[in-house]
């Protein structure tokens, strides 16, 4: 019942923001933060309800004979797998509403876009119908395009926004073809119906490939990752956090929920090429981070590396690796978003993201240093953070089934340590750079934005078994068919 109420809550918040007049800027900021806290509370209730059940499954089916030729099932499903994504969405949107207060212009529009995106993301993570998923998947592109284009900082934003939009569109057209084939051959696009459907092996391979292209663009996997650095750099802080924290997870969630769920045989037979691609992406992007001067581009490439760790975990046919990949999705959602937030705060103060202009910030912004250091440790997978537990689990599982891939990916771990410490050194230590005329440590708002992220990384880094335990039962269902 809570899922429908969450939808109504988000839509009602959207309407409330829409109704506020343009002159009431301060009220708008406070209203949006309050409403997002309300939504977060509702998500927390969700978690509380789920905690009581070993396998939590809540489904809303609305089978509508909408069109004359096939039935369109508006099915929303929340189970243990998608629960963490929903909570991540709610949590990150709460932080985003706090962050968006610092944008200088068009506040009402950014809040409207944020609420619209929250609605779309909530429903995409809980879809059980492929056509509905496709509609929401594509509908996300328009608000993101507007966000990057209107609030982006540099002139290159138009090119980046265009590339992001068209790249993702081209990829998801493959998904459309796959969904159309499924609709024609099976009659319905509901995944629980399709799970029991026996595919012809060639057809299953073709469909897996079509689904793969579109989700691989979103994740992003090796040949399709070109849009990510540009989009992350040109987007405002809010957009970057959203992209890194949630939208990339949409790709990997798509793999988990749709590709691996519906086409397990094809995933098994293609796993060698998928793992090669992920290993290549890890090595390539980790090496690329070392050459970057733009802070955001650095974190963007490290995002690619982390997402490819967890994709390797997903394709490895090992329960612990898959559990670890889910944990890494959450952890990456927290740590990557936190890093982008930190960089956003720096950008607001100094107006540049170029690493050359910074130096010696530790002397004047110690609190910021603590947070940035902690998030860098999380990014590289230092023990004590949630990323470490996740990566450990992934590598332990991956080594069981595909040891060579595990060895290739370990290079990324080493390189991430390298670039994290190089960045830290350049930003904070060393002589104080004379480009930094003024300085200001974290304000209370910024502190309160970063604090929950840091705490969650710590708490779940020490005790994540209770979280990982909820995923074991649904993931075992993936192995039943093989």
């Amino acid at each position: 019942m809570i899922l429908l109420q969450l939808n109504i809550l988000i839509l009602w918040s959207f309407v409330q923001i829409l109704a506020v007049g343009r002159v009431h800027q301060e009220f708008l900021k406070d209203l949006s933060s309050l409403l997002s806290a309300q939504v977060l509370l509702a998500f927390g209730l969700f978690l509380k309800v789920a905690q009581d059940y070993v396998t939590f499954f809540e489904a809303y089916h609305l089978n509508v004979l909408l069109f004359p030729f096939f039935s369109f099932s508006l099915s929303l499903v929340v189970d243990n797998l998608s629960l963490v994504f929903l909570v991540l969405t709610g949590f990150l949107f709460y932080l985003l509403n706090l962050t968006a207060r610092s944008l200088g212009y068009r506040l009402k529009e950014i809040f409207l876009i944020l609420w619209l995106l929250e609605f779309l993301l909530l429903n995409s993570f809980s879809c059980a119908d492929l056509l509905l998923f496709y509609i929401l998947f594509e509908a996300l592109l328009l608000p993101m395009y507007l966000m990057i284009g209107i609030w982006g900082s540099q002139k290159n934003k138009i090119f980046a926004a265009n590339q992001f939009f068209l790249y993702t569109l081209l990829g998801s057209f493959f998904l459309l073809v796959g969904i159309l084939l499924i609709l024609l051959l099976a009659g319905s696009a509901n995944i629980f119906f399709l799970r029991c459907f026996l595919w012809d092996p060639t057809l299953e391979n073709v469909l897996f490939f079509l689904f793969f292209v579109s989700f691989a663009v979103k994740v992003p996997m090796f040949p399709f990752h070109l849009w990510l650095p540009k989009a992350h750099v040109e987007a405002p802080t809010v957009g970057s956090v959203l992209l890194a924290g949630v939208l990339l997870k949409l790709g990997s969630f798509g793999f988990l929920r749709y590709s691996l769920f519906l086409f397990p045989q094809a995933a098994l037979s293609y796993s060698w090429i998928l793992l090669s691609l992920t290993s290549l992406a890890v090595a390539y992007s980790s090496f690329s981070t070392l050459r970057q001067l733009d802070l955001k581009r650095l974190v963007a490439y490290s995002s690619i590396a982390h997402m490819n760790y967890l994709m390797g975990g997903l394709f490895s046919h090992n329960l612990s690796a898959m559990v670890g990949s889910l944990l890494l999705q959450t952890a990456h959602g927290f740590s990557s978003s936190a890093l982008f937030l930190c960089i956003g705060f720096l950008y607001e103060r100094y107006g540049t993201r170029n690493l050359f202009y910074y130096g010696g910030l530790a002397t004047v912004m110690p609190l910021f240093l603590i947070f940035f250091f902690w998030f860098s440790l999380a990014n590289l997978g230092f023990p004590g953070t949630m990323n470490f537990l996740a990566e450990l689990t992934i590598f332990l599982g991956l080594y069981e089934t595909y040891p060579l891939a595990a060895l290739c990916m370990l290079t990324g771990i080493f390189l991430s340590a390298l670039y994290s410490f190089v960045t830290l050194n350049r930003l904070f230590f060393g002589p104080y750079s004379h480009f930094q005329r003024k300085y200001a440590d974290l304000s209370r708002r910024e502190f309160l934005i970063l604090l929950p992220l840091a705490l969650w990384l710590l708490i779940l880094g020490l005790q994540a078994t209770s979280v990982m335990a909820i995923w074991v039962a649904p993931l075992e269902a993936f192995f039943l068919a093989q």
Binding site: L66, P68, F69, A139, L166, L169, F173, L176, V177, L184
Partner: protein, 496 residues
Amino acid sequence: MLLFMITMPELILGTLLIFSLLALLLFGSLLVWDRTEASFFQALRLPHPMARVFYLLVGYILLINLALIQILKNHASETSDQSTLIFFFDYHSLNVLSFLTVLFLCFLIFAYYHPSSSHSSLNFELPLLLFFAYLGMVFLILNRDFFSWFLSLELQSFSFFALAGFRSRRSFLQSEASLRYFIFAGLASVLFLFGLSMVYAYYGTIDLYAILSLILFEEDFTFLGLGLVGIFLALLFKLGVAPFHIWLPEVYHGVSSLVTFFFFLMPKISLLYNLFIFLQLDIQVLLDRISFSSIFLSLAIGSFMAFNQTNFKKFFAYSSIFNNAFFLLPLINAKSSFSFFSLFFFLFSYQLSLFLVFFPFLFLRSSQDLRLINNLRDLLSLKKVNPVLSFIFTCSLFSLAGIPPFIGFFAKLFLFLGALDQGYLDLIFLFLVFSVLSTYYYIRLVKIIFFSFLLRNSWTKPLPLWPTLLTALMFTVLSFLSFLPLYSLVFSSLSI
């Protein structure tokens, strides 16, 4: 009276329309006479009407027409048994006819408030010419035999020639465009007539529905094929499908804005229905290659040529060439059950998006010289001046591009489903790749509106009320009603 209507229905429809047209012509000539000679209206103590009242009169006639069509629908039959000599009423044609009438009514609302209609009463001819074209289209939809087909096609084309040249004393471009249109479309009509005469020479009958049953026994298409292909090519020419599209951008560019809007909206309905009926003949083997190459060329030309356009009329002309490929897709195999529904649903969504997209170009005026905007660049600061309009415009552009959750996506979904049902997987891939290309130039418009910092243009007069209301209603249909079961109710009547 009702019996009379049932037995000879076309008589009532035809006479109503033609006599009302003649009456309006008479009234118009009275109007003009009143300006030049001694005052007729003053003698009768009547106020002198403006030319705009003709729009109202045409609108009233259309409403009566619509009511008549609804009455006729109750008595129409599904099969071709109960039909009269000249016209053929069946369920589909009456539905398409009511769609045409409603669309024309919406167009008239736009035209009434358009600045070009507020001039002197000597310009009463425009609504009448539009009505002539509407007549041509009505008879094109309702025709049964070759005579009425050719005559109605000519009536429509000639009305279009006259519309294209309407008030062309102002600009050389416009008179040149109308003359070119006349020459090109005249050649197409000649080809059409040639095809018709070939088919008649082969079969000896001019009844299309008789030929439909005769052609099933045909093996040798060498002589007949010439005629059929001629008809098909001529109809494709009128539609503006590549490679017969060359007249389209320059004619649409040269003509005045309101008439361009009319050209975009109306002829497609009648021509596509005509093509649909024509393709019920089982001649797929002849026309396959033409259809595929036309589709490919339309996609390519419509995508590539629109990148560099600055004039909005040419831009949308190329976009309509691109969308013509989508219209041809269900017509490749017009006998399947998907094709009628997907074709007309796509037509409906396309017209809807066109209304929304043309609305700023028809009614926004630049503040510097009070002219209507002409270039795409003139949309530059729309987000500052009228953010709601820019939002609506963006949404309709995305509906044209086929992005969910708008209605354009669902329309293309049905088209692709129908095509996949026939097995054209590679064609679908082609469509999708070119769709991405064409999405780029729609996004470019969004970029022009939203992503700029300078306030370059400003607009003075407020937008007129009724077109704005109509636009808002259409936008609601375009966006938020995409998920409602309403569509299944509305369009279940369109399925076979």
